[in-house]
């Protein structure tokens, strides 16, 4: 095998390492984005749940108060 040929291959191998490293960087970043999305999801869910709870409470309270005020008739 000629030296130049070998060097060409060695360079290709090095290029391959570099390419794969680049892919790894991208993959790692996608992974980070995924992690972010997941934690964002969790966080949102927990906050929305709290909000939902508050709204439900308010809704039920309004229902109750409406019943108290109207004594059974619906407010129009």
């Amino acid at each position: 095998m000629s030296t130049t040929h070998r060097e060409a291959i060695q360079k290709q191998i090095q290029q391959d390492w570099a390419n794969r490293e680049y892919i790894e960087v991208i993959t790692g970043s996608i992974k980070k984005i995924t992690d972010f999305l997941n934690s964002f999801d969790m966080s949102c869910r927990s906050r929305l749940a709290v909000l939902n709870e508050k709204l439900t409470t308010l809704e039920r309270r309004i229902e109750y108060l409406e019943a108290c005020v109207t004594k059974g008739e619906t407010l129009t």
Partner: protein, 1291 residues
């Protein structure tokens, strides 16, 4: 902007910035890895890129080609295995033509063929595949067993792949044997196809015949493999290599996932079975040291049962037992039945697992804190290596624990229990039930849950820092690989060049060229090592670069295989290569080879992590479903000598799945819920996660919609159950807590002292953590557990209140105290729960339960009134001595009341538990016999002002109708019967004479039949009403005083401070006022609130202050209302003839009352009821109240018949029997009632006269000084009328 170009650096920094967002999630993490998005990059090329590594040794590139195709076959094999395993019987669902004459049978057959054809096609493919795979496998074995080739080294990867083939054959064969539904379906198809003559040509017919035979022949694949192998000379040696490498890998833990571990064991068993034949005896191979049976024996003992596929298990030792030359003596451990395999006992492993877990978790926590708190671009090589090792250790631990769980599960499946071993297991329990539901002790279930929780918990932790791990792993692998090939391999290379070992040199050069990443792109040509020369004294510097990337899968394979060939014991030539390499280099190469084994796992960290934690097979039960085929076998249970007639009764049930009670995930979840073990409560979501695993498996590996649907259906069912049970439990827990808190402390102490039963407080439990869960991931759905529990507990709370009131409604008025207690407990429960759950307001709930939202009066008020009206007023007797009413035990004057039955309710709706219910019902039992002060106070609290007002209003209406109805009627009638004139006889007649006189005069009244019954009863009702109003007012006043006392500090009303001598109370008072100024409402609202608020505060304050000041009295009003009812002239009669007052005439009411008093003062016989017993003091209250309201009190007291008898008797002290009346006894009674009457008058006067001042009352009274008879001058008066006193004072 879309057109803007984003540079890579910008993009990366954008990604980095994401870290800086804070994502608060306030729930404790007690569930398995929750992720909505899963990202797994897979760079496994299956040797597609092998041709890129031209510098590698050609032989291994070729081998890679073979590997690639073998891997494809293995993958296909897995698909067929899945197809077989998940096969569900179709033919059972297909209608069969009943007779040949059936008109639509052609249609049926056509449809059958249409439906089954694609399925049968799969079976055909399977047959072809196994044929192909066996041929391929045999060809490979044959190639490798060629005499020349035999001497050559076969790589570890190659042998392992062959092992995988052996495993695949074993699996496929067992699956084929097991699935009888496959055969049934095929014969259904064949029958239909033959009828329709679909298979016309001979080839198709032949094929069909082949398939039929293939499916019908048991062990077909295994036998064919064996047959084919036996034709190859020396195959046993190759298989021995395969078995040995499996033993080696098993013993040195060269595997990661539990699947791989079990595969190794299966290969050992099946491999030995394949080897042992006519030609070959494994025992002889053992003697020749080609096999090490004793080591395999130990492995088989430690792992008696391994999962084969899904819920199919296999005991690898069974292969050995079935082999031709089985020799028990060689298999001492495995064949002994005395000792149990360690895999069957989870408890043995548990302490070690716990220790490992704690150790690893703490290490991981330390590490994780370090990386999150300190920012580092990249660690040093050593740090990276430590991190990578940490990651690997984590994976290995997870895999080890998962193995323990699956191995236990497998063992249990193969060793089902029965009713002898487990008393709880019913005799008729199903096979699957005996393998799962009844097969675990409580301890084992807890241990399983704990281990599963550790696995899932650690998985979450490791996944959380995956990016950090992956980063360090890549850097570490890169560094190790490059350092090894660029630096370490220099020495052996130098040596090889120097010693002209061309083969070694070429291999090392190949290795280097395959994967070296030179700093300058090319190998430093000046390197003296390349020429076999020594380095210069100051060394030859090679700078090894650093990157964050691992080798590609092919690259790694090439490097490892080539290095392996260097250190292998075998080679193509006479001497092995390792003899030409120095020991120290050998060790280094060997070390590298060993370390790099795990790199493929580490590089696919995310996938490895998932595989190591996969517990999906705990749910799958296709094997058991196939076995039962929807049948349920009922054995004969009648106790008699069983004969042929009582053969097993087989009932077909239309069921395609087992009930959840037999399903492992639910068994474990339910176990926690049932035991309520606090230390396990936080683990309750982990067993549920097993469904996630199973569903994922159904979607990604099995790829079967129906399996996913079944998992989903079970999850739906289980989760409902879970929420239902959990919320009930939580509610009961807090109810018990509240009840225990409120339970009388002395009662508790005395219970303890008496040793009756111990009412311990409920064990603290960790429901709070569960209650904080707002997003639980289950089958890709996010569930707000808190919300679900809130809904249920809200309903429970409501029901609890409702039932408390219903319970009250089902009992008499005395239940009011218990009702108050129940409401209090519910209020406390509500308070305790509200800390975690957003429940409705207690008052709102209470009013709803009380039906008091829409209607003005609640159920409680209505029932109180109802009870008063129908039970209390007519049936209760008052006694002033005890200040209590008790139920009349004598005659009943009204129909007994009918109440609704108390609703059935479970303990937690009442006081929380059976013991607490007992304790409280004992306590409240004390209040059920009477109505007294407690009851009135409680009624005040429960009714409130509005309720009291309405009850009294209604009672007054009743009294009005009573007075103006029956009482008036009676009065009119009786007045007729009264003598017109009835004088006070002189003392000279003596008391018997007076008594006789009155008796004669009042004979009509005495004889009047209804007087002692109906009339008195009416008076009692009237009197009870008066008493009720009086006592209510008293109770209310106490309540109000309490209120005022509570309000006092907020109104700047402070208790008078204690002063020593010389201290000024005013200054002390001032100081206190200043000290507590922050409490005072009005000034504070004035200061900080709006004008409107200030006004409201002032008005509230005023109302509170004035409440008792002006002395408003309900009772006074009641009396004046009563007075207004007495408007009929009959009550007062015509005006007196003498213009002053009536003395002897019997026209006024008080005369009638005197007559009645005479009646009830007549003593009764021993067997008769007295009026006190029958009517209580209500009677007297009614009479006295009427008299006083009619203004006849004085006349009554002066002129009453009985009083006169008493006065006379006091003088003469005689005792005679007058017309059957015992005088002395009568007088005693009169005396008693006189005292009572005067007490009643005193009380009533207090209320009636409270408004008048003394002066005004005197002014309006015309005073007639009565003539004092000498004989009366010394009689002691029991009661001194005020007027009388006045006269005494001012003669």
């Amino acid at each position: 902007m879309a057109t803007d170009k984003v540079t890579l650096a910008d993009a990366l920094s954008n990604v980095d910035v994401l870290d800086e967002f804070t994502m608060p999630d306030e729930q404790p993490c007690i569930e398995a890895q929750p992720c909505s998005v899963v990202y797994q990059a897979n760079f496994d090329t299956n040797f597609e890129d092998r041709n890129g590594f031209v510098t590698g040794i050609a032989k291994y590139i070729e081998e890679a080609t073979v590997h690639a195709s073998l891997n494809e076959l293995l993958e296909e094999g897995l698909e067929h295995a899945v197809m077989l395993y998940t096969w569900r019987c179709c033919s059972r669902a297909i209608p069969q033509p009943k007779s040949n004459e059936q008109p639509n049978r052609v249609e049926i057959y056509e449809k059958t063929v249409e439906v089954l054809a694609p399925e049968v096609n799969k079976l055909l493919n399977f047959m072809y595949f196994q044929r192909k795979a066996i041929e391929r496998f045999s060809a490979e074995v044959k190639r490798l067993c060629h005499q020349e080739k035999r001497k050559d080294f076969v790589s570890e990867a190659y042998l392992l792949t062959l092992g995988k083939f052996i495993n695949m054959f074993a699996v496929l064969d067992e699956l084929k044997n097991m699935k009888s539904s496959v055969k049934n379906d095929y014969s259904t198809y064949r029958r239909a196809a033959q009828f329709l003559k679909v298979m016309s040509d001979s080839q198709t017919l032949q094929e069909s015949q082949n398939l039929s035979m293939f499916l019908a022949t048991q062990n077909k694949i295994r036998d064919t493999v064996k047959e084919n192998l036996e034709k190859i000379q020396g195959y046993e040696e190759l298989l021995a290599d395969v078995v040995n490498i499996c033993v080696h890998m098993f013993e040195t833990k060269m595997y990661l996932t539990p699947n791989e571990k079990h595969m190794l064991v299966k290969v050992m068993g099946f491999g030995l079975f394949l080897m042992d034949s006519e030609l070959c005896n494994i025992n002889k191979l053992d003697q020749k040291k080609k096999l090490k049976l004793d080591r395999i024996d130990r492995i088989f003992k430690n792992l008696e049962v391994v999962p084969l596929f899904g819920d199919m298990q296999i005991a690898p030792f069974n292969y050995i037992k079935r082999s031709k030359h089985f020799d028990v003596s060689k298999w001492a451990l495995s064949s002994s039945i005395n000792s149990m395999s360690p895999q069957a006992d989870l408890m043995v492993h548990l302490p070690q697992i716990r220790e490992d877990h704690v150790k690893y978790i703490s290490e991981l926590a330390r590490y994780s804190n370090e990386v999150t708190t300190t920012y580092k671009d990249c660690g040093s090589d050593i740090e990276n290596r430590e991190t990578a090792e940490l990651a690997l250790r984590g994976l290995q631990l997870l895999s080890q624990w998962t193995s323990v769980v699956t191995e236990l599960y497998s063992w249990k499946l193969l060793h089902p229990t029965d009713h002898h071993m487990n008393k709880e297991c019913p005799q008729e329990a199903e096979e699957y039930e005996r393998a799962t539901r009844y097969n675990y002790t409580d301890e084992e279930k807890f241990a399983l849950i704990e281990v599963i929780a550790m696995i899932k918990g650690l998985q979450v932790l490791m996944a959380r820092i995956e990016t950090v791990f992956v980063d360090a792993i890549r850097r570490n692998i890169y560094a190790e690989l490059q350092d090894f090939v660029q630096l370490i391999l220099r020495e052996p290379l130098r040596k090889a060049i120097k010693n002209k070992k061309d083969l070694i040199r070429s291999i090392i050069v190949s290795v280097r060229e395959t994967c070296a990443d030179w700093h300058f792109g090319v190998e430093p040509t000046a390197d003296p090592a390349l020429k076999g020369k020594k380095d210069p004294d100051n060394g030859f510097g090679i700078k090894v670069p650093r990157r964050k990337v691992g080798p590609s899968s092919t690259q790694l394979y090439m490097v490892r295989t080539m290095l392996e060939s260097l250190i292998a014991d075998k080679s193509g030539g006479k001497r092995t290569l390792r003899k030409d390499i120095d020991g120290q280099y050998l060790i280094q190469i060997d070390q590298f080879h060993k370390t790099s084994f795990y790199w493929s796992y580490l590089l696919n960290f995310s996938e490895s992590l998932q595989n190591c934690c996969d517990l999906s097979q705990l749910w799958y039960r296709e094997f058991y479903l196939e076995m039962t085929m929807g049948r349920k076998i009922q054995k004969c249970h009648v106790r008699h000598q069983h004969n042929e007639e009582c053969s097993d009764l087989i009932t077909m049930e239309k069921r395609i799945q087992f009930p959840i009670e037999m399903s492992m995930p639910w068994i474990l979840t339910d176990h926690i819920l049932r035991s309520k073990e606090p230390s396990m409560m936080e683990y309750v979501l982990y067993p549920l996660d097993l469904y996630n695993d199973s569903a994922l498996y159904a979607l990604t590996i099995f790829r079967k919609q129906f399996l996913y649907d079944e998992v989903e259906a079970e999850v739906n069912l289980c989760f409902d159950q879970f929420v239902y049970k959990l919320s009930e439990q939580i509610f009961a827990h807090y109810k018990q807590l509240a009840s225990s808190i409120l339970l009388d402390k002395r009662f508790r102490v005395e219970c303890l002292a008496a040793g009756a039963y111990i009412l311990s407080y409920p064990r603290a439990n960790r429901y709070e953590t569960l209650l904080k869960q707002r997003h639980v991931q289950l089958l890709g759905r996010s569930i707000d557990l808190n919300k679900l529990i809130t809904q249920r507990i809200n309903a429970d709370m409501q029901k609890s209140l409702d039932l408390a009131i219903s319970k009250f409604e089902s009992g008499d008025i005395t239940g009011v105290i218990e009702l108050e207690g129940l409401l209090q407990v519910n209020r406390l429960t509500h308070k305790l729960l509200s800390k975690w759950l957003a429940l409705d307001e207690y008052d709102a709930m209470f009013r709803e339960a009380n039906h008091n939202v829409l209607a003005p009066y609640g159920r409680i008020t209505l029932h109180v009134f109802w009870e008063l009206n129908y039970d209390f007023l007519p049936n209760y007797c008052y006694n002033a001595a005890t200040n209590r009413f008790i139920k009349c035990r004598g005659l009943q004057f009204v129909q007994p009341v009918h109440r609704d039955k108390p609703p059935q309710m479970s303990h937690h709706y009442l006081w929380g538990s059976k013991q607490l219910n007992l304790a409280y019902s004992t306590q409240y039992g004390q209040y059920s016999g009477f109505v007294g002060f407690y009851h009135f106070r409680t009624m005040c609290k429960l009714l409130g002002y509005q309720g009291i007002a309405v009850v009294m209003e209604e009672l007054l209406k009743i009294v009005k109708s009573l007075i103006q109805g029956s009482l008036l009627q009676f009065t009119k009638t009786l007045m007729e019967a009264m003598p017109k004139v009835c004088k006070l006889p002189r003392y000279d007649y003596g008391s018997p004479g007076v008594l006789g006189y009155y008796h004669a005069q009042l004979n009509d009244i005495v004889q009047y039949p209804d007087a002692k019954t109906e009339l008195f009863h009416n008076f009692r009702e009237f009197g009870n009403t008066i008493l009720f109003c009086l006592l209510m007012e008293q109770a209310l006043s106490q309540e109000e005083v309490c209120d005022l006392m509570h309000a006092a500090p907020f109104q700047n009303i402070l208790p008078r401070p204690y002063c020593k001598e010389g201290e000024k109370p005013e200054t002390k008072q001032k100081r206190l006022e200043v000290k507590y100024s922050a409490l005072q409402i009005v000034p504070n609202v004035d200061k900080y609130g709006t004008a409107k608020q200030a006004m409201v505060a002032k008005e509230g304050d005023l109302l509170t202050r004035e409440r008792l000041c002006c002395g408003l009295s309900i009772f006074e009003v009641v009396l004046s209302r009563l007075r207004s009812f007495l408007d009929d002239p009959i009550w007062v009669g015509p005006p007196p003839a003498n213009g002053v007052m009536n003395i002897d005439e019997c026209t006024e009411f008080h005369r009638l009352w005197s007559a009645l008093q005479f009646v009830y003062c007549i003593p009764v016989g021993d067997t008769e009821f007295t009026v006190e017993e029958l009517f209580g003091e209500g009677l007297h209250w009614a009479g006295c109240a009427m008299i006083i309201l009619l203004g006849q009190q004085r006349r009554f007291e002066a002129l009453d018949f009985c009083y006169h008898i008493l006065r006379v008797q006091r003088v003469d002290g005689k005792d005679e029997n007058v017309k059957g009346i015992h005088l002395k006894r009568m007088v005693d009674r009169i005396r008693r009632f006189q005292v009572l009457n005067s007490q009643i008058f005193a009380v009533l006067n207090k209320y009636l006269k409270s408004g008048d001042s003394d002066a005004s009352s005197v002014e309006h009274v015309r005073c007639f000084p009565p003539p004092i008879h000498p004989s009366l001058a010394h009689v002691q008066q029991h009661y001194h009328a005020p007027e009388y006193l006045r006269q005494v004072n001012h003669p």
